[in-house]
């Protein structure tokens, strides 16, 4: 019997798999809605994860923000232009700064304002626009940091109990190497999607499709269709790699190719549940975006409020990101995982001479 065909049978405390299923059964995690709610509960029960991931974005962004702050301060000097820049938008000064700046300063454009920032960033991915080098490096660092944290995050969410900083870091360390291997595969896939496939869709196919189009609306809907076509494989692989990570952690898998195959098997056997859950999570993401659209601070908002609102939005995005993982774990655990269900070989006793010595 292949692991995927095993039914949940035994539940006992122990590894990530068993502890995760201890608090839920097929009735909660097995149902899509149940997995969604369970995922949210797991995230809310793990506030330090939220804080930690949020802090990771702060840690990456803050040094660059300080760099930008110095550039702006230097440019403004003791100029009276700072007065209006401090109180609202001094667009003339802003343009002058942009005309003279370099490095991180080149990314300080009007699109950072309020909800435009969200559109700008989504558009950057959808249209695969290049980023200033320093920003691209920051994004790469974020990917690396996320790879490192992923093991700890998933382990904590799978166990659904406090594990302590040491265990969290241990899990991060245990899975980092595996997720780097997975990341290489994922990176290659995404590279093909974002360069070759996107290039073919939007640099070759799109221009040829609209070559004779004389109605802008038609061209827009063609582009929208191509975004959809582009999103399909991106989301498919995103979900595949998500479940590969889930299975790697829940089942303590070491082979990442095996984890991908196992993730695919789960998706293939539970397509409705997997995609229904994904849609629910996307809906949650859109809710967060909608909220920020309504509440995003204007340029003249007091600094504390504007910064607070911005950070609240980032925290909500972190929660949504963790919710994707937590609900996927809950779904997997609810549908397949059980205590005896691990991918690694059954350990043979003694584990090590040290362990043997301890038992003597």
């Amino acid at each position: 019997m292949r692991p995927d065909e095993a039914l949940p049978a035994l539940k006992r405390p122990g590894g990530a798999a068993s502890s995760g299923t201890a608090s839920l059964g097929p009735a909660s995690g097995g149902a899509v809605g149940g997995a969604f709610i369970d995922g949210l509960n797991r995230v809310t029960r793990a506030p330090w994860l939220v804080i930690g991931v949020w802090l990771s974005t702060v840690l990456l962004a803050l040094p660059l923000a300080v760099l930008l702050q110095q550039q702006i301060r230097t440019h403004l000097g003791a100029s009276m232009a700072a007065q209006s820049a401090a109180e609202g938008v001094n667009f003339d000064w802003w343009n002058e700064f942009l005309a003279q700046t370099s490095g991180v300063g080149t990314s300080f454009v009007p699109a950072i304002l309020g909800f435009a920032a969200v559109l700008e960033n989504l558009s950057t991915f959808a249209d695969v626009r290049s980023l200033p080098t320093v920003i691209a490096i920051a994004a790469a660092m974020q990917v690396l940091m996320s790879l490192f944290l992923a093991g700890g995050l998933l382990d904590r969410l799978a166990r659904d109990r406090a594990i302590g900083a040491a265990a969290f870091c241990s899990a991060c360390g245990v899975y980092f190497g595996r997720f780097v291997r997975l990341g290489i595969i994922a990176g290659a896939v995404y590279w093909v999607l974002f360069s070759t496939f996107h290039g073919w869709l939007f640099d070759d196919l799109y221009p040829s499709l609209i070559a004779e189009v004389t109605v802008e609306r038609t061209a827009f809907f063609i582009r929208l269709g191509l975004y959809f076509v582009f999103a399909l494989p991106v989301l498919f692989f995103n979900v595949l790699f998500d479940y590969a990570k889930v299975r790697a952690v829940v089942e303590d898998r070491r082979s990442m190719i095996g984890a991908i195959v196992a993730g695919w098997r789960f998706m293939r056997r539970q397509p409705i549940a997997v995609w229904a859950l994904y849609k629910l999570n996307v809906f949650l993401f859109l809710l967060v975006l909608g909220g920020y659209y309504l509440l995003a601070p204007g340029a003249a908002s007091p600094n504390a409020i504007a910064f607070g609102m911005g950070q609240l939005y980032i925290v909500l995005r972190v929660i949504v990101r963790l919710q994707f993982a937590a609900s996927q774990i809950a779904l997997f655990q609810g549908r397949l995982a059980h205590a005896g269900y691990v991918a690694r070989p059954t350990p043979r006793w003694p584990d090590s001479p040290a362990a043997e010595a301890l038992l003597k």
Binding site: V58, Q69, I72, G77, Q83, A111, L113, A117, L119, Y313
Partner: protein, 655 residues
């Protein structure tokens, strides 16, 4: 055959001009074959020598030959900046004008064939591959005041939707389409090849044009429709006429929505505003009409009334590349399907192209040599009108393939800096000077110079003299040179005359040189006035320690950081609110200005009213002793940080 006389027959001419100004008139029959994108035409050109010397030859523009092959001067000039628009185009996308027959028509009706005498000319760059200008010698010279008649037959193929000319789908925009004479002046022919930067130059005349297109297609053209004839073979011929214009453009498509509104200025004749709009832009029709009416009203009041009976706005189709171009009594606008209110799209382009009816249409400068004169005056005018009648005008940016607009309600665009395009200009302010002939401007910066620098120069003049004075300058310039071909010298002469000032220094600095301007406050120091040393006393010279006199001396060090020179004011504000002002001639590289007051200064500004809009670095124009740079920098870096965190979260999505 059905012939319909339309109601507008009665008003074919401009009201302020007359036959004496009609130098080159055209009587044209042309038919369009949409399937092959070709025109077949015959024209009778009637030209009266307006100069003081005899014409021994004539020059004929064949503009569509600029798109004949990649050796044309037009495309070679584009290639200078790495732009190769025809590099991968199929054969059908290239365009051409082929003169199949040309003959001189004598008074008795006989004709002398000149087809073999017609030769391509390249007087500007000696590019023998260029076919955009042709010339032929005449056996009998045309003496001043005499008339030359030429009968020309030609075929032309539209380039594929390219640079304001061409066709896409069922949309045909037909401009620079007929063999057209150059202008003739006191020095002879003023005819140039077609350059990527330059636009056009021709003499005024009367146009009577019959355009045959598929039945049911809507036609818009320069002038007024006089008749419409169903030919019984699936085609219809539309006849348009217009006097006192120097060009004729037309468009046809079955898809236009044809809308009209009448505008009547107080004391003026009514003008029919005709809007040929795309169905997807139907919801923006009112905004087109409002902008056109504002242009007729305000430009009419400011400069002089619009004398033609019709003004046609063509809304081009998506990807036609024909938007934003002016022709007599007709222009192309251009807008977007999603166009938020309070962002001047389409208003801006309507105001700009309507403005060209004054600057280009009636005051017809040589655009090959001095395009800034019409482009600068028009940009200056539309910018002012946006400020007067279309506020607020918020910044809009588009996302997702440049489709989805986002309006920044925090950023209302300002006339001085935004709609004059200072922000574009400051990135390349010194590539050329305004006095360089337009055709010879570096292609990438032509717009920066001819449009933006010129508009900034004119707005600087307005700030020097007030709008009322500037309006009078432009009004006199318009009145004096309406239906003529003025030069920049004519403009500057009117400027000097109306203001009563000699602007030679200004012209030298701003117009003739490519100098940039950058004035700065380098240092502001307020210190108690102290003196120590050997002082006069009843005992003779005695040494005295510092004595505070209850006064502060504020020293302001000002600098000229760029080559451009301009007289500027320096304004100092003191702690008690008092202000003091001194003028600096701005010619030295630096100066120290001193102000003695009972209190310290809090700030100093150079050019505080920002008269010199060409100063590309305004941030260094002021200095305060209570700076807020830290607060601003912290605020904006924290806002930026949220953007970056959001971006990082997007990146984390893939892990």
């Amino acid at each position: 055959m059905l012939s319909v006389l339309l109601h507008t027959t009665a008003r074919p001419s401009a009201q302020d001009a007359g036959p004496d100004r009609r130098v080159a008139s055209y009587d044209i029959d042309v038919s369009l074959d949409p399937a092959t994108r070709t025109l077949t035409g015959k024209e009778l050109i009637t030209w009266r020598n307006p100069g003081q010397i005899a014409a021994y030859s004539f020059r004929l523009h064949l503009f569509w030959n600029a798109f004949r092959n990649t050796n044309s001067t037009w495309l070679k000039q584009r290639r200078l900046i790495g732009d190769t628009p025809f590099a991968n185009r199929p054969a059908d996308d290239f365009g051409y004008t082929n003169v199949t027959r040309i003959a001189r028509v004598h008074d008795d009706g006989s004709e002398t064939d000149l087809t073999k005498a017609l030769q391509f000319a390249s007087p500007d760059d000696q590019n023998t591959d260029d076919r955009s200008l042709a010339a032929a010698f005449l056996q009998d010279a045309v003496q001043p005041g005499q008339v030359l008649r030429l009968r020309v037959e030609w075929t032309g193929r539209f380039p594929k939707n390219f640079d304001r000319t061409g066709a896409i789908g069922n949309y045909f925009f037909v401009s620079q389409w007929f063999p057209k004479l150059g202008a003739f002046g006191s020095g002879g022919w003023m005819a140039h090849q077609f350059f990527a930067n330059s636009e056009f130059f021709a003499d005024f005349g009367f146009y009577d044009v019959r355009m045959t297109v598929p039945r049911g297609w809507i036609v818009g053209a320069t002038g007024v429709e006089q008749s419409r004839t169903d030919n019984g073979n699936g085609t219809t011929t539309h006849r348009y006429t217009q006097g006192d214009v120097h060009d004729f453009a037309w468009t046809t498509s079955p898809d236009f929505i044809d809308l009209r509104q009448d505008y009547e200025a107080p004391g003026g004749a009514p003008v029919t505003i005709r809007l040929l709009i795309q169905p997807e832009h139907r919801h923006l029709a009112d905004r087109h009409f409002a902008a056109a009416a504002a242009a007729l009203k305000y430009f009419g009041e400011w400069y002089g009334r619009y004398p033609y009976p019709a003004l046609t706005i063509v809304d081009p189709v998506f990807q036609s590349d024909s938007g934003g171009m002016e022709y007599p009594t007709l222009f192309t606008a251009g807008t977007r399907w999603l166009s938020p209110r309070h962002s001047n799209d389409p208003e801006y382009v309507v105001l700009h192209e309507a403005g060209h009816q004054w600057w280009y249409g009636m005051v017809a400068n040589n655009e090959v040599q001095h395009a800034w004169l019409d482009e600068g005056l028009t940009e200056y005018s539309d910018s002012r009108l946006q400020f007067v009648a279309f506020q607020p005008n918020y910044l809009v940016q588009r996302f997702f393939g440049d489709f989805i607009p986002w309006q920044y309600r925090d950023i209302p665009l300002q006339r001085a800096t935004d709609t004059n395009y200072l922000n574009t200009f400051r990135r390349n302010p010194d590539r050329d000077s305004l006095s360089v002939p337009t055709a010879g401007l570096w292609p990438a910066t032509h717009q920066n110079i001819s449009y933006h620098k010129a508009a900034l120069m004119l707005h600087t003049l307005e700030r020097m003299h007030t709008w009322e004075v500037m309006q009078r300058v432009l009004s006199v310039f318009f009145t004096r040179f309406k239906f003529q071909h003025p030069t920049p010298d004519d403009f500057f002469a009117v400027l000097n005359e109306v203001t009563g000032q000699d602007h030679a220094f200004f012209i030298e600095q701003v117009y003739r040189s490519s100098n940039t301007f950058d004035y700065a406050i380098e240092r502001v120091v307020s210190e108690p006035i102290e003196a120590r040393g050997l002082m006069e006393s009843p005992n003779g010279l005695t040494f005295q320690e510092p004595q505070v006199e209850g006064q502060f001396r504020t020293s302001v060090t000002v600098r000229r950081l760029a080559a451009g020179q301009f007289p500027v004011d320096v304004l100092v504000t003191f702690r008690n609110g008092e202000q003091a002002r001194q003028q600096w001639d701005g010619r030295g590289r630096w100066a120290v200005l001193e102000f003695d007051r009972p209190v310290e200064a809090v700030s100093a500004q150079i050019d505080p009213e920002r008269h010199l809009l060409l100063d590309t670095n305004n941030t260094n124009n002021s200095r305060t002793l209570e700076p807020r740079g830290d607060a601003a920098a912290t605020k904006w870096s924290l806002r930026w940080m949220v953007w970056l965190q959001d971006l990082l979260m997007n990146a984390a999505f893939f892990v």
